[in-house]
């Protein structure tokens, strides 16, 4: 009986709807035919497709790329690149590295944008890039149609990382949020971080948040940062820190629980306090 339950449980587990569609199929598109074989690239071979740009994708835990080319009778072509990353956050990370904050955003997947001959979108753990050739005046329509069909086959579209909602809205440059996968601020001990660009009365600054595995990891990061910047403190406790970073100037940051959040390039002390507080409220609401 136990064995049967185990087997059934395993089957159910493997069949969970919304599970990653690792073996997704490229869709059939009316008026278009797939040309040639579908190409597959893995971390070791990604260089063969996107050469040196592969390094950045690998930093975002790239897992697999599938490429299909479609042709129509008018000799137009659309190439569909489907990059699968380890997690939706990593897919967002590489997507955020390449999106422009003033792009023409569209409602495909979790988010996407379209421009001449290019449509890129994010859905779940996938970063999808479409490139069109010889599509003429119908280019955008064609790309949108392709994107919709591909997106349907890629399972749950997911959403942008929920932590982004914690960033204060006031002064934030829309769609400037990024996920930095490694070596935040140029320090290996700071792991990863989410950032967003801000502007107020001509002053540009940046907010960031580091999500640690827990309180201990955050404490460790703070300790190492203080050691690195020779700002030694006897008792590392949750709260506010002002760090004189030799490379980044004065950084204001706050640690509570599993989060460290902070501000770069903002000299005004009252504004710093305001934004640190707003961020804390944003993180509380997120819970």
């Amino acid at each position: 009986m136990k064995t049967i339950c185990l087997i059934l449980g395993l089957i159910i587990f493997l069949w969970v709807p919304g599970a990653e569609a690792k073996d997704f199929r490229f869709p059939e598109i009316k008026g278009w035919k797939q040309s040639g074989e579908i190409q597959t690239f893995i971390p070791k071979t990604l260089f063969e497709y996107i050469n040196g740009a592969a390094d950045l994708y690998l930093m975002y835990d790239f897992q697999e790329l599938k490429v299909a080319e479609y042709l129509n009778e008018k000799k137009a072509s659309v190439i569909v690149d489907v990059y699968r990353h380890k997690t939706p956050t990593h897919a967002f990370g590489i997507y955020s590295q390449e999106r422009l904050s003033d792009a023409n955003f569209i409602n495909i997947g979790a988010q996407g944008y379209v421009e001449k001959n290019v449509l890129n979108f994010l859905t779940g753990s996938y970063y999808v890039k479409l490139n069109s050739f010889n599509t003429g005046a119908e280019d955008e329509e064609i790309l949108l149609n392709f994107a919709k069909k591909v997106s349907e086959n890629l399972g749950e579209k997911g959403r942008l990382p929920s932590i982004l909602s914690s960033f204060p809205e006031e002064g934030k440059k829309k769609n400037s949020e990024k996920f930095i996968a490694k070596n935040f601020l140029g320090y290996s001990f700071l792991h990863s971080a989410f950032t967003a660009d801000y502007g107020l009365s001509g002053t540009k600054f940046k907010l960031f948040v580091i999500e640690g595995a827990g309180k201990d990891e955050c404490k460790d990061m703070i300790q190492k940062y203080l050691q690195q910047t020779k700002s030694l403190e006897k008792n590392i406790a949750e709260g506010r820190y002002t760090i004189s970073d030799p490379y980044h100037g004065e950084i204001e940051l706050y640690w509570r629980g599993g989060y460290i959040w902070g501000i770069l390039n903002l000299n005004d002390p009252s504004l710093r306090s305001k934004y640190l507080k707003l961020f804390e409220e944003g993180l509380r609401k997120r819970k």
Partner: protein, 411 residues
């Protein structure tokens, strides 16, 4: 296992011929891996690096005449402007980017960093590519001269500059693409218009073919190529680089610490890996994609002294051996084996089998060693401690089985 009579005599002759071949192959490999120390006639420049006086090794980028420190920065992997600032303030001169990196935002970030810096204090290299067939590497009809010319204007706008120092034809792996007429014409126009001081070509695959095409074109001033100690064909790349340098082409190396196609993502001893590339006198500079301040410090140390130490050589040899194929021929094992087995030869046979997939050579070699019938079977524990960590007895047991395979199955 011994064969009789005439066949044996023929085999001996064959073996002698193959033995000579094997010896020359091994010598060739060992000889090329570390070059003899030669006087590279390098310039040493005293540089003010963040208030400290540093002496950096400088080399000249071929006929361009541009003098560069041994290491410069590939900016592709970072969007951190402070990292780039620190690199420049610390003595890095050349920044390498491309229009495709973060869709122009990488150039834009660099443009912000460069504001206010004297134009002659830095060297900027950027790149552009046009649509091509990803399977054949050949250009499609969309790859026009006009399309390429537009890209340089986009890059100059992103960078906020009137000109770049080097403008590369990006990511080429076919001779036909390197010599693609519309792009060659575009590059000539770009140079004539003063939008780039020099033009170059970059390659990560089929490097020798592309480098030779660059030489033959008589147009390219600079070649940016993958080059590292893990490349299986590093000898061919080395030869191609030498020919290009001889022709006056400036040589910039990349992927020195980050493997290219099919390679290990990153090496363990980065300083050693960089120095291995710089030991080549044809290599004028390397760009590295650092993402931490710690990386910058490693690179700065190499810029001061690019000479490989013995420890670094050993580290590199170990890394190459990590794949488990290349015996370093140190012969320390010979004294350790109580049966006095010819271990280096057996390791070579193992390499032929699993590295080169040349079973004929492997079998010839194993047969020529006149091994006893029982090999490694009487030792309960192997006393041999290999200097690069090979499981010697495991490899020996594996490769001697080839004695039992009929020749007609192998040839």
């Amino acid at each position: 296992m011994r064969m009789g009579g005439e066949r044996e005599e023929r085999m001996d002759k064959k073996l002698i011929g193959r033995r000579d071949f094997m010896k020359s192959t091994l010598a060739g490999f060992g000889g090329l891996f570390f070059l003899p120390q030669i006087d590279l006639k390098q310039e040493i420049r005293v540089v003010d690096a963040k208030g400290k006086e540093k002496k950096f090794v400088y080399r000249t980028l071929g006929k361009t005449g541009i003098k560069l420190p041994a290491i410069n920065m590939g900016v592709m992997l970072t969007d951190n402007p402070n990292l780039v600032q620190v690199a420049l303030d610390s003595g890095v001169v050349m920044l390498d980017t491309a229009q495709v990196y973060q869709r122009g935002q990488n150039e834009g970030m660099i443009g912000e960093v460069l504001k206010g810096r004297p134009r002659d204090s830095y060297v900027i290299a950027t790149k552009a590519r046009l649509p091509n067939n990803q399977t054949t590497g050949l250009y499609t009809d969309e790859a026009t001269e006009e399309a390429f010319l537009k890209k340089v204007d986009d890059s100059l706008k992103n960078l906020g500059l009137d000109y770049v120092d080097i403008y590369y034809h990006h990511n080429v792996w076919k001779r036909e693409s390197a010599l693609y007429e519309p792009i060659l014409k575009a590059l000539e126009k770009i140079k004539k218009a003063g939008k780039a001081r020099f033009v170059g070509i970059t390659t990560h695959m089929n490097e020798p073919e592309v480098i030779q095409a660059a030489i033959d074109s008589k147009l390219y001033d600079v070649v940016l190529t993958s080059y590292n100690f893990q490349q299986k064909h590093y000898a061919e790349v080395r030869d191609a680089i030498a020919r290009a340098a001889q022709a006056g082409i400036g040589i910039v190396g990349m992927k020195a610490i980050r493997g290219g196609s099919g390679q290990t993502p990153i090496v363990k001893n980065t300083a050693a890996a960089l120095k291995w590339v710089l030991q080549d006198p044809s290599m004028h500079t390397i760009i590295t994609g650092f993402t931490t301040f710690e990386h910058i410090n490693i690179d700065l140390a190499v810029m001061e002294n690019p000479t490989l130490t013995d420890d670094e050589k050993r580290d590199l040899q170990k890394e190459v051996s990590v794949s488990g194929l290349y015996c370093q021929g140190c012969r320390q094992c010979l004294e350790q084996c109580p049966e006095h087995l010819p271990i280096p030869d057996l390791m070579r046979a193992y390499m032929y089998t699993y590295g080169y997939h040349n079973l004929t050579h492997a079998q010839d070699l194993v047969l020529s060693l006149n091994l006893p019938d029982r090999v490694c079977e009487d030792c309960t524990q192997c006393p041999v401690k290999c200097s690069v960590g090979f499981n010697v007895s495991g490899k020996i047991r594996d490769v001697v089985r080839i004695r039992e395979v009929p020749q007609e199955f192998i040839a």
